[in-house]
Symmetry: C2
């Protein structure tokens, strides 16, 4: 089964790879085009395109010799369900429901089988300053407008100042941005903030990142040598994801499920080059300088929650403390400086 | 009554201009801000902000001395309801319903009182070519994709060629564009394609432009002198609108309604400089050259219809024949050339 087949390319590949039957599910009118693609590629007898929400699909009773004539279950679910920063769009919900309804228990395989979310501190002053300047520009324009409206037209709009400011702040300063970072923009190795086993995850697991998740805490150390050359400052964080196609490692599937001989790894991180997912950049309001001969530590946590207004969109809360110590000091040693807690809540647009 | 007050500025002005009572209607949450604006400007006792669709509003019984204690009617309806090319957004429907329900019969005044739509042929090769090139670029990318998908991945997507082509054509070639033309871009004086008297128009009148409307036919003549200097070619048409604030000229209001001493005229055309409405540019697929010493005539019609999918959006059909004659020939005289009917159906996005 291909959940969200779109133009149907994964379903064609499944048929070409030898699947004896493929159900290609697509909610939108692209389903019509997917049907043409199946015919044009000579796999219409193997691939059944179904236009429906996967939750509403009923498969026919199995008609393969040697199987019980119960409702059919599938051996493999393939799906390209990943959104920006993995979870945006929240399509994973449909995938989990499809898994629980249609995938063979114990032996069924999910492709991708595993998903991992990562976070790293970045330097990206150019983009950070562009956003900051656009925010300042918008606020300047607003002040001009308020003054003109008062002076020329006799109407006082300044009562809307704080509302306007909040709106601009959310748009320019507290929205994450699509980015394509070079590996050199990363100031420390990425840390895993969420791991999902597609065979065993629950709807709740995939709703976001909660402070109870093991990965939600991060602790980055950025060492700046004495022979320091313009590196940094810290502009914020980048988030991205990887997915894997490998064997089931859950208890249920451990012995029963087929082993995958050639595992495949897809990264959307800076090390992997361009993907349409790119990375999400979370910029700080103020950058944090890196000081020659010192180690800067960013210790904090990340939370990811669906917005109340739209289940497909997310807010991302990043809170941390920055501290500095001489490179010669051990991690818990004497501090040169420690900041207050820095906290931003971003919208992922 | 201010229909769609937004931040409330028209309602404040109405109060400042001496209205004894103002009902400011706003459907969205901007109504909350409008209330603050009324308070900040000391007119909260005159202006009542009502958050509702104007169709659902019920005014209280009148409590002014000397008036019958029936449901209140208003003397003036003000509204900034105009969209791109006047009708886009279709807010005029609500305005007409508000008029029929709340405006005093015979003496009530609509501000603006009249709306006029205009069309003129334009030269705009730069933008026309940009769109054409983007279309060509998108089609080239698609061909590359289809070949790579076939050659490298063994899946034939060419069955979607015509669907993809249509989608790109609609987006790049058959969508009108926001534009800010200089008066010099106009190749002939604009012609009125629709006139609306806000006091007497019906819902049907404002649904679009039908071929039965007097204005729907156009007939432009572009005279190119012998001492011709790079003028033209014809790239397409520009459409825009004007609105007026002047006295009622309908039979019912003729004697009864107050006369407006200082009429006001607002144009969104090239002669009026920047407005956020700008003009809508309808580009041709191929330009039409202007020939030295000849007169080019564009005779045809325009239709404007709401789309089936979204009542707030419009399709615009422009069909015409181009012909050329020597400048010395009269309008009906011998032709140098006559084109086939050129017809485009544009989406106004």
């Amino acid at each position: 089964m291909d959940v969200g087949t779109g133009s149907g390319i994964l379903a064609v590949w499944a048929a070409q790879a030898g699947a004896r039957r493929v159900y290609a599910i697509e909610y939108t009118d692209m389903a019509k085009h997917a049907k043409s693609v199946m015919e044009a590629n000579g796999v219409a007898d193997v691939v059944t395109v179904i236009q429906a929400a996967v939750e509403d699909v009923e498969l026919p009773s199995t008609d393969f010799p040697g199987e019980d004539s119960t409702k059919e279950c599938v051996d493999i679910i393939i799906s390209e369900w990943m959104g920006y920063f993995l979870l945006r769009e929240s399509m994973v919900d449909s995938l989990i429901r499809a898994r629980d309804k249609f995938l063979k228990k114990g032996t069924g395989i999910m492709y991708p089988s595993h998903a991992t979310m990562l976070l790293a501190p970045i330097t990206d002053e150019e983009e950070r300053k562009i956003n900051r300047n656009e925010y300042n520009g918008a606020m300047g324009d607003w002040q001009d407008f308020v003054e003109a409206t008062k002076g020329t037209y006799g109407v006082d709009m300044s009562v809307l100042d704080s509302h306007f400011e909040r709106e601009q702040r959310e748009y320019y300063l507290l929205s994450s941005r699509w980015a394509e970072f070079k590996p050199s923009a990363l100031l420390a190795p990425p840390q895993i903030i969420k791991s999902i086993d597609m065979h065993t995850c629950t709807l709740a697991d995939c709703r976001g990142i909660s402070l109870n998740d093991t990965g939600s805490a991060f602790d980055f150390e950025i060492v700046t040598q004495n022979n320091w050359e313009a590196e940094g400052p810290i502009s914020g964080f980048a988030g991205w994801f990887t997915v894997d196609f490998k064997s089931r490692d859950d208890e249920e599937g451990m012995d029963a499920a087929p082993k995958i001989i050639h595992p495949v790894h897809l990264t959307t991180g800076p090390e992997g080059g361009y993907t349409h997912w790119g990375q999400q950049a979370f910029h700080l309001n103020s950058c944090i300088p890196l000081i020659s001969g010192e180690t800067t530590r960013l210790k904090g946590s990340i939370e990811l929650k669906r917005t109340k207004e739209n289940v497909r969109l997310y807010n991302c809360r990043i809170a941390f403390q920055a501290s500095r110590r001489k490179n010669s000091e051990p991690p818990g040693g004497t501090l040169v400086m420690q900041s207050n807690v820095i906290e931003h809540i971003y919208q992922i647009p």
